[in-house]
């Protein structure tokens, strides 16, 4: 069984300056991801989880963290088609969240000092 991500609160704080809507979507998605696996009822768990993860993907895409093609290219090189369907869904969701997090961290704002 895949390990859920560590608690979302530890991943993003206000100081990370991730857009607030994305931060909240990611937190929800990460929470649901862990919960889906824990519940054991994969069908219900997966439904909640995929919905939340897809929302986070759409928000991050719209905020310009990556393009849809970037995500497709990334996934095509990572997902093993021979996996069991349910496990594969979990894996895809995990990968998507991992991808968003890496893109967010890449795009972390830089500090600018000024003089007046």
């Amino acid at each position: 069984m895949l390990k859920p991500y560590k608690k979302s609160d530890d991943l993003f704080s206000e100081e990370d300056d991730v857009d607030l809507i994305l931060q909240s979507a990611l937190n929800r998605a990460l929470g649901a991801l862990g919960k889906g696996v824990e519940m054991g009822n994969f069908e219900t768990g997966m439904m909640v989880k995929n919905l939340e993860v897809d929302q986070a993907v759409i928000i991050a895409e719209n905020l310009g963290y990556f393009s849809h093609d970037d995500l497709e290219n990334f996934l095509s090189g990572k997902v093993d088609e021979s996996d069991d369907k349910l496990i594969s869904d979990t894996k895809i969701s995990n990968l998507k969240i991992g991808f968003i997090i890496s893109k967010v961290q890449e795009k972390k704002p830089k500090r600018a000092d000024a003089i007046i």
Partner: protein, 316 residues
Amino acid sequence: MGKYVDFRLPDCKTQEELGSTLIEHLTVNRIKAKKPCFLYLTGESGEGKSYTGLAISKIIAEAYGLDFLRVMDNAVVYTPLEYSFKLRNILYAKELKHLHVIMIDEARDLLSSKTWYDFINRTINDINNQHRGVKPLVVIVISQDLGDIDYATRKTIQYRGKCLRPIGKNAVLHLKRFWKDEHDISNVKLRERSLRGFLRHDGRSHKVYIGDIRVKLPSKNIRDVYDKHSFIKKSEVLRRKIEMIEKRIQKEMYGEYDKIGMLVDYYSQNDLLMKFVTVRKGNNYHIRSDFKRIHDLTGSDLKDFEERFLNRIAGD
């Protein structure tokens, strides 16, 4: 700009250019969009709050094509006594129609804490009510800390600047944006965050947050005019207060009292009051030249005061 983005700046070649463009975007662009713009500057005594306020006011005045030195006296409220008159002038005087900034200088050293607290809170609310619909203004309020304004008034402020001046260096301004955290609608909290936005560089927009804003000393002309006016206006308030004490003592002592002794006692109470009396030249302190005129002293009175005052602060 929006809720999460404070600015979108063009390519700036130097930090100076970034500083003035940033301040212009945060303030002038806001009032042009008919949005309120209150900036609250805090910091301990001597950390460079007033000079920071002047530097910001200068950028705003110049954005409207004004020579700051010429309008400075109209834009700066040195003491609470001048506030109503100056605000009315800025709002209605034809010759000041391009002046869009008012700076309420700290006058805590002139008033009791309670009076200063009441003045600051009343003033912010008053300006909020008065200037809307008449003329958009950037309002800069200078005070020692955030506790000087109550919670309801704090919600009307957009930016908070904290000033720090390391010894031997220029003041540094940490400018933050206030925002309302409404995640829990039954418990709305006021929070502050770094200024963030986009900065154009090498043909691309980069997401940035603002770190330190170093504040250069204003030009000598501006400093001289500010220091002179500030001293005269604030001394005037102190003189009135001393006259009141004088009258009270005269009444109790039937005219037999030591005026010089009373002045020495009054001005040696704390550092803030001492700066109204002394000026440092090298390693020595001298009594300021205006002091004699302000308190209507004779030459021998001044000499007597100088001797007793300097002895007092030297711990004699």
